[in-house]
Subunit: 448 residues, 2 copies
């Protein structure tokens, strides 16, 4: 039972706060969870009730909440300075972070531009690409290709390369004219193939689109289309894309905002590729503070490097670029990721998720597909396993599963009817078992 | 003389970092300042050299660096949690901040949407405005009016309402089709009037533009156009704008990102107005952490409030929305602003800036205008006082003044040839004297 202060705070929340991606009318029946503190993979309300953060607070948290080393790195930096502007000035936390990112990311990437969130990291990539073509005699290259189902943030530039109607449809009239192509859809593959054995036959529409002569770049979420419902597609698609971008002189933008820093089982998906731009955010501070980075090549950078009077520099800034507190936490995050076989220790966790996911998928008649890429896993619920028919959206199956999860102390937040798991990487195998067993219970409670 | 570590760090900076709004070729002759720590209004390099932060680290810092109370508020929150997602979840730091902002801002504003930086706070206002008109039967209202010289951030949506060529010109082809109007230009008033006695005769083009029937909203930086060179215009313009927006059913967006939280001598310029949207960032955390807020009315909010199935909710999110650490520092900032006659104590400082600015303006033949709005002041340098002719941009007068400032321990960063002062509000009168005397010396060193 909420106490009086909690009641009053929730009333103030309802009166004064407009939450992101939220229909506030839903709060008439289910109030938001008032989280007081967090520890490891758990969130706690004021009554001391515990909720497992199964989606890492919107896919940001890697090391768990209230991590002693991350807290210490933040406090150490705080004693020196919280922030200082980043034009005409530099500082060690940013230099260290940029150097580490350059060392860890694909070899062809060498310059790091900092901003504040995933959307801005994408905006920076799009703008750098556009300005690069302007300054190298290809002024006609002004359009970007993006995939159906792609999501790259919601500022209007990022939204102009979003392939999901729900995010775009109220804003179509003001969005730049980019080019959407059908991307991989492995669960309902129109070619009738399987992602484990196909040759990315679905690359065909992209191949064709790349023939257009006004294409500046292609943007993709490599391997996992997150907001589309953790749709997973094979590396063969990316290999073809890399090759086609190279041969058509088109920039390749990898948006690894959701998948970098260990989520897929490797540090970056792009390790095996040569993107022109790599966009990072979310996990970069292990879910502590807003920070983003756009990493690019010397070739791009060189096109902006000239005498001041030539007006070629990249005119883009955010006041809090390279915030030292955020950079410090990011530096410590990268250190933790590199120590004590951190990445190797994910292997049995990934295996556990696979085993349990497969099991649920076998047991539940509502599970259309279980799919997984490293520490990202998803169960797509369907009305009919045979036909793969979805539930009607008004039945809000995913939302009901979410409410059941809350009752059982697990914070899930399905994407439509896709129940997904992106836990902090520090989750244990036992906790994975609890998380996925609870999800199975919730699905049964709603549908059986 | 820089030590070996500093040399090496600066090399790594040059090799790996792409700084905002910076022509890196300039670093061949003048390296960026490597700031190690900051205290009060001063930045310190590793050698212990001190630089006065005369522009508050891009206009963000209010209370000085390394402020004990702000540090304490951050550490206290850190012990509870650094961050948690803000959909389906809420927390006290955000509820308190939203309530305070609603209490302190104009009476008609009641709902606070959090994001990460000034650009996103503007994107949110633009998108809410567009979606509002879509959902209230005025689908044709899709364009925004902005002022020549206006600056509202650099993501592509924010850039589409930017009235400065230097920010736009490489990206024109992808920007939404908004409507630029001539705004106030008091220093070179085309009507030959004076901002202290005119009746905003320059409102005429805006009046005319507002007749167009597809206008969703008007966006302005109230009283001070910052990036344009701290161009200051009279309240009479805003009064006319408020009235014209009301009578034409057009949303009025006040971008107070740079001017709020005491800069102009009052907490918000909008105190005396009824904007539909108020955009805040920069000073909101006193320069500690990225955070932004877009505040709007119940009328706007109501148009999004409906059964979930109607699909009317505002589909926009950033992972780090309402970051609890940033909200905590913001709450403490607002408390400090409200205590011990903080605002009243600005009065003699504002007077001191006025007295000294006027004096420099009288003494220097290079000063075309001294202008001031509260704690924001600027000297616009000209080649000829009589004709108000500017220096040719290739002579980089402002940049040279910046280099002279560095030699004298004051970090100025002129906008073109406008030498401006936005010091932390805690600056003392003596420090104001130093800051402005040094600026005068620098101007003389470059031009005399």
């Amino acid at each position: 039972m909420p106490d009086r202060k909690t009641e009053s705070d929730l009333t103030r929340d309802f009166d004064n706060v407009w939450h992101p991606c939220t229909q506030h009318k839903d709060y008439e029946t289910t109030k938001p969870l008032l989280v007081e503190r967090a520890e490891g993979i758990y969130l706690f309300d004021r009554q001391g009730n515990r909720y497992m953060d199964a989606i890492s607070s919107w896919w940001v948290n890697l090391m768990g909440h209230n991590h002693p080393r991350l807290n210490a790195s933040l406090k150490n930096q705080l004693e020196k300075m919280a922030h200082v502007m980043f034009a005409g000035i530099t500082h060690q936390p940013a230099i260290d972070l940029a150097s580490s990112l350059v060392n860890l990311s694909p070899e062809n990437l060498s310059k790091v531009f900092f901003s504040d969130n995933g959307s801005t990291s994408v905006e920076v990539a799009l703008k750098m690409s556009l300005q690069y073509w302007q300054q190298t005699g290809k002024e006609n290259k002004t359009r970007f290709i993006y995939l159906r189902g792609g999501y790259h943030g919601e500022t209007l530039g990022a939204l102009s390369v979003c392939g999901m109607d729900i995010f775009r449809n109220k804003f179509e009239k003001v969005l730049a004219n980019n080019l959407e192509v059908e991307g991989p859809d492995c669960f309902r593959c129109p070619y009738g193939l399987n992602r484990n054995s196909c040759n990315a036959e679905c690359f065909e529409p992209m191949e064709k689109a790349l023939q257009e002569n006004d294409i500046a770049g292609v943007i993709v979420e490599p391997l996992v289309q997150g907001a589309a419902g953790m749709k997973i597609y094979p590396p063969s698609y990316l290999k073809k894309l890399q090759s086609a971008c190279d041969s058509n002189s088109v920039h390749l933008i990898f948006d690894e905002i959701a998948v970098a820093f260990g989520r897929t089982g490797s540090l970056f998906v792009s390790e095996e590729y040569k993107p022109t731009f790599l966009c990072l955010s979310k996990g970069i501070t292990s879910g502590y503070l807003p920070l983003a980075a756009t990493i690019t090549t010397d070739e791009i950078y060189s096109a902006f490097y000239d005498d001041y009077s030539r007006g070629k520099f990249f005119v883009h800034s955010h006041s809090y670029s390279a915030n030292p507190l955020a950079c410090s936490v990011a530096n410590e995050t990268l250190t933790i990721l590199s120590e004590n076989d951190f990445m190797e220790k994910l292997v049995p966790k990934i295996a556990k998720m696979k085993q349990l996911g497969q099991q649920i998928s076998d047991e539940s008649k509502w599970c259309g597909e279980f799919r997984q890429q490293g520490m990202i896993a998803a169960l797509e619920l369907v009305k009919n396993q045979e036909s793969k028919e979805s539930f009607p959206s008004e039945s809000r199956v995913g939302y009901k599963v979410y409410l059941e999860g809350l009752k059982r102390g697990v914070f899930l937040r399905p994407l439509g009817d896709v129940i997904y798991f992106i836990p902090p990487l520090v989750i244990t195998e036992d906790e994975i078992t609890t998380m996925m067993n609870v999800a199975e219970e919730c699905i049964a409670a709603v549908l059986d």
